[in-house]
């Protein structure tokens, strides 16, 4: 963090303070900032503003002026008068709101919804993309990443910093102090063999300079490097210390158990502010060498020069720029990679905000959700604006009196704007409370650390901006409209203009609602389309039995092979698949390097010969790969087409990145949508001879679960089996899309409700305005049907115009959403017709009540009122 407060803050604080004390106050604030940041205390901003405000108040109250400054004094006086007028407007606005409680409640609650959605949505975006690591002076911290760009055609290849590379960089770098990290889930117990349910803590294995370089404050104990103990050393987060060890005071120096078996000494407890790195939760820090003994077996991590991939971050040393540091890192990395005969890496250094980490899709999703929230916000403002317009038109006589008493139009506009601002500010305060509940919601739904989503100054700034925007959108047009009418002293011609404006606002509301409702409909139908799409393999008739090992044991290659052999020997028609945790099939993306050096990306699946039979995927060329003989693999037609551009396919040998082994392609299998709903990805299949979570695949049947359980127990009685239909995993894969569709559906519903309120509001105002005309028409013998037609005609233009514009805009929205529709046509006629019908029906519902009131008008009463 900088040692000086931001210049804009200083300038504003200076403006607040009385002129004769400005320099003194400014000096004090600069000194205060330096002192607070030097202590490493968080929240210098809060302290700064508190002191600035108190100084300003004190300076305005001071009883005498030691140094008279006449010129500045006068400007201070004008400012005070302005502040006084503003306060007067504010009080008047509050009185105005108190006099009309129904109107106030409706407008403030609607604005709270609109601004709350913006503040809440922004809290999430802020947490996911904008918030830097919670370490002191986070702008000096850089995160390094590396990728191979030597073969752009093959796409991004997984490669990065090995431990050797890190050691080399750390020793030789002059621009940056680097730390190395590797993340893993790790069970933590107070006593050996204890078993805990609940969330498994997230550990970061880190080099011994972690605490010093990142500047993490410890509330107890010492950093990893200065701890005298031998063996594994651990730093606990404040949250884990409280949750798992009940905030035991004497924990430092004690032995705890990692992954059930490994003893480790607690050397310190980190400060409560430090609980995550970006969006990744951090429950404990373990010294990096322990990774070879604890948790996942990574014995070769520290010795293998090609191992991958450590996370590297660092703090810039004074006087170095990020670009200089990047160039140095590039040179050091290149030097090291040459020395171990590895291809060159291109390195980048970025700041600690998580922006760079998230993929295109995630960003697109959030952009779309953001656009939806913005539309709802606009819709809310349009609605409230309409209400406010109706209300302020009713105050024309009051405005005329004020003008004739000598008030300027600008003064009246300012007063009406202040009313808007007071409404928006009340709503903004409510919205900030909504934003504060975001962390709770995010914790309920996800594994992300809560603190990431806690509203900070950015969220407060965005909420404030939304308040100002809402004030202008809601109050500016009505303010100009009302005062213009009063000023000119006429009402008839201006009423038509106000009516036109209401029509436009109404049309915009309907268009926005149409876009939101249609986007939601398309997304929901997309998910349904994906879930019900006919599959090109036996998705609906396959049962999966996931095998899990007891705590403390690993899913190693030997275990998988033993299970595969047992299945083979049992004579059951059952296949074996090895997959990553959380996936039904598949080991994720990998890359193949042909002997010629060409590289290809493909989805890696590990399936036994029988698994293809169970899944009903036939062979189209060559022969099946042998489960017994190591080093044989299959590819799907999609990958075969890509490979055939550079060489023959069957008989080709390649090295697989995931296990660094060499395989020969013995055959090609038919394409199937095994890993995605809307596309077939290039796939390579290897026999189940790879560490991972094994599962048995079998045709669903009445007795299949019992047979599979017996089979697994015959291998090892300690193993656990969990059954699920394969289609269940497809539903899990769709969960994200379903979540997106639910958000869109929620926004669509809110938009629809707002549109109904908007149409209803405008229509009832119309009825109220034309009550006299209706009375006269009825007295002259007009039928009630004719009256209804005339009234409906007044709104028809706006409703139809809004609907047409909305449906046209929806086509653009549909095309943007294409990648989330799982192959559904973005111009899906059913959705369009359904949305049009729903919106027209909603408009009818909204107009029904005011219309009934209009038709009940008694001509005698209306005429008598004249």
């Amino acid at each position: 963090m900088s040692t000086q407060p931001p210049p804009a803050w200083l300038a504003f604080a200076r403006w607040l303070v009385a002129p004769r004390q400005r320099e003194e106050a400014e000096g004090d604030l600069i000194e205060l900032w330096a002192r607070v940041t030097e202590r490493g205390a968080h929240g210098p901003a809060l302290r700064f503003w508190r002191e600035a405000l108190l100084l300003a108040i004190a300076s305005r109250r001071r009883p005498h002026a030691p140094v008279p400054v006449p010129q500045q004094h006068r400007t201070g006086g004008v400012r005070m008068a302005m502040l006084h007028e503003l306060a007067q407007d504010g009080r008047y606005a509050l009185r105005f709101l108190r006099r009309a409680p129904g109107f106030s409640l409706a407008t403030v609650s609607m604005l709270t919804l609109g601004i709350g959605l913006i503040a809440g949505g922004y809290s999430v975006v802020n947490g996911l993309f904008l918030r830097p690591w919670p370490v002191p002076d986070s702008d000096e911290v850089v995160v390094a990443s590396a990728e191979r760009r030597d073969q752009p055609a093959a796409g991004r290849i997984i490669d990065g910093f090995s431990f050797g590379a890190y050691e080399h960089i750390r020793t030789h770098a002059r621009a940056v102090d680097y730390v190395a990290m590797e993340d893993n889930y790790l069970r933590v117990e107070a006593h050996r063999g204890e078993r805990h349910s609940g969330r498994v803590p997230e550990a970061t294995f880190a080099s011994d300079n972690f605490v010093e370089v990142l500047g993490i404050q410890l509330q107890q104990g010492t950093a990893l490097a200065s701890a005298p103990q031998s063996g594994s050393k651990v730093l606990l987060s404040d949250a884990l210390w409280r949750r798992r060890f009940n905030a035991e005071p004497g924990i430092v120096g004690r032995t705890i158990w990692l992954a059930g078996e490994q003893p480790a000494t607690v050397v310190g407890i980190m400060g409560p502010a430090f609980d995550s790195l970006g969006t990744e939760r951090l429950d404990l820090v373990v010294d990096l060498p322990s990774i070879t003994t604890v948790g996942r077996s990574r014995t070769s991590l520290l010795t293998d020069p090609t191992s991958c991939c450590l996370r590297i971050a660092g703090r810039l040393r004074p006087g170095w720029t990020r670009e200089q540091a990047r160039q140095e890192l590039q040179l050091l990395t290149a030097g090291y990679r040459r020395s171990v005969a590895q291809p060159e890496l291109t390195v980048t250094l970025r700041d600690t905000t998580p922006t760079g980490e998230s993929g295109e899709t995630v960003r697109l999703v959030f952009t779309l959700i953001g656009a939806g929230l913005l539309l709802v916000f606009l819709l809310t403002c349009a609605n409230v604006g309409n209400l406010y317009l109706a209300r302020s038109l009713g105050r024309r006589p009051e405005m005329a009196v004020r003008l004739s008493l000598g008030a300027s139009r600008a003064r009246l506009v300012r007063q009406l704007l202040t009313e808007g601002l007071v409404m928006a500010a009340l709503a903004g305060a409510g919205a900030f409370v909504v934003a504060r509940s975001v962390p709770i919601l995010m914790v309920l739904t996800d594994e992300l650390p809560a603190s990431v989503f806690a509203p900070d100054w950015r969220v407060a700034a965005v909420t404030a901006a939304a308040v100002v925007a809402a004030c202008l959108l809601v109050a500016l047009m009505p303010a100009l409209q009302t005062t213009r009418i009063a000023w000119r002293g006429t009402t008839t011609t201006m009423s038509a203009r106000a009516g036109r404006m209401r029509g436009v606002v109404l049309a915009v509301q309907i268009a926005v609602a149409a876009v939101l409702v249609l986007s939601a409909t398309l997304l929901v139908r997309g998910v349904r389309h994906a879930a019900s799409a006919p599959t090109d393999y036996a998705l609906h008739s396959t049962t999966v039995a996931k095998v899990s090992v007891p705590a403390g044991r690993t899913y190693d290659r030997e275990f998988v092979t033993r299970l595969a052999r047992a299945v083979d020997a049992s004579g059951l028609r059952s296949g074996v698949a090895v997959s990553l945790p959380g996936r039904a099939l598949g080991m994720g993306r990998s890359s193949l390097t042909l002997r010629s050096g060409a590289e290809f990306r493909a989805e890696l699946l590990s399936l036994s010969r029988d698994a293809f039979d169970v899944l009903q995927i036939p062979l189209v060329a060559g022969r099946w790969a042998s489960d017994q003989q190591a080093g044989e693999a299959l590819v799907n037609e999609m990958l075969a087409r890509r490979l055939s551009s550079v060489s023959r396919v069957v008989g080709q040998t390649f090295t697989l990145f995931t296990d660094r082994r060499t395989y020969v392609i013995t055959g090609i299998v038919r394409d199937a949508h095994l890993t995605a709903f809307d596309r077939v990805e290039p796939m390579v299949f290897i026999p189940p001879t790879i560490p991972g979570i094994p599962a048995l695949l079998a045709r669903s049947g009445p007795d299949v679960e019992r047979q599979l359980t017996a089979l697994v127990e015959s291998v090892d009685a300690d193993l656990d089996v969990m059954f699920a239909p394969l289609s269940e995993s497809a539903k899990v894969a769709l969960r994200q899309a379903t979540g997106g569709a639910a958000i869109a559906g929620g926004l669509g519903l809110v938009a629809l409700l707002l549109a109904i309120i908007g149409v209803g509001g405008v229509f009832s105002y119309l009825v109220e305005e034309q009550r006299r005309e209706i009375g006269i028409r009825l007295a002259l013998g007009g039928s009630r049907g004719q009256i209804a037609t005339v009234l409906a005609r007044a709104c028809r233009g706006a409703v139809v115009g809004g609907l047409v514009a909305g449906l046209l805009l929806s086509m653009a929205a549909g095309i943007t959403l294409r990648s989330f529709l799982f192959g559904l046509n973005p111009v899906d006629p059913i959705s369009y017709v359904a949305v049009a019908v729903v919106l027209i029906a909603s408009a009818l519902v909204a107009t029904a009540l005011p219309l009934r009131r209009a038709l009940r008008v008694d001509p005698a009463v209306t005429l008598r009122a004249d």
Partner: protein, 111 residues
């Protein structure tokens, strides 16, 4: 408030000014008070108290050049006047007398 009498906070501020000697300006006084009382003290009230003390003639102030830690901004240094010194002495005497009496009559517990 309190006319020419000193409030408790004003007394603390006056003592801090006395203790700081030539280095008594707003920020330094605030720092001393925070450190000695263990409570968070804001600059605004400190300045209000200093201005009142100056109004009562117990301190006087003069602008002096700033330091690099303040970005070069000048500061107002306060000094005890003779009246300020007398006020402190008399307050100290009053307190000592009161403490003395309090020791002569220890509080009795109710039965």
């Amino acid at each position: 408030m309190k006319g020419d009498q000193l409030g408790a906070f004003e007394e603390l501020v006056l003592l801090a000014v006395h203790g700081l000697g030539d280095e008594a300006y707003g920020m330094a006084v605030q720092q001393v008070l925070e450190r000695e009382t263990g409570r968070s003290v804001s600059l605004g009230p400190v300045y209000t108290a200093l201005d009142r003390l100056e109004g009562k003639g117990l301190v006087r102030s003069a602008m002096v050049a700033g330091t690099p830690t303040r970005g070069g901004r000048s500061r107002r240094v306060f000094k005890l006047t003779a009246a300020g010194s007398r006020a402190l002495t008399s307050l100290q005497e009053i307190r000592l007398r009161l403490y003395g009496r309090a020791r002569m009559h220890p509080a009795r517990s109710r039965s």
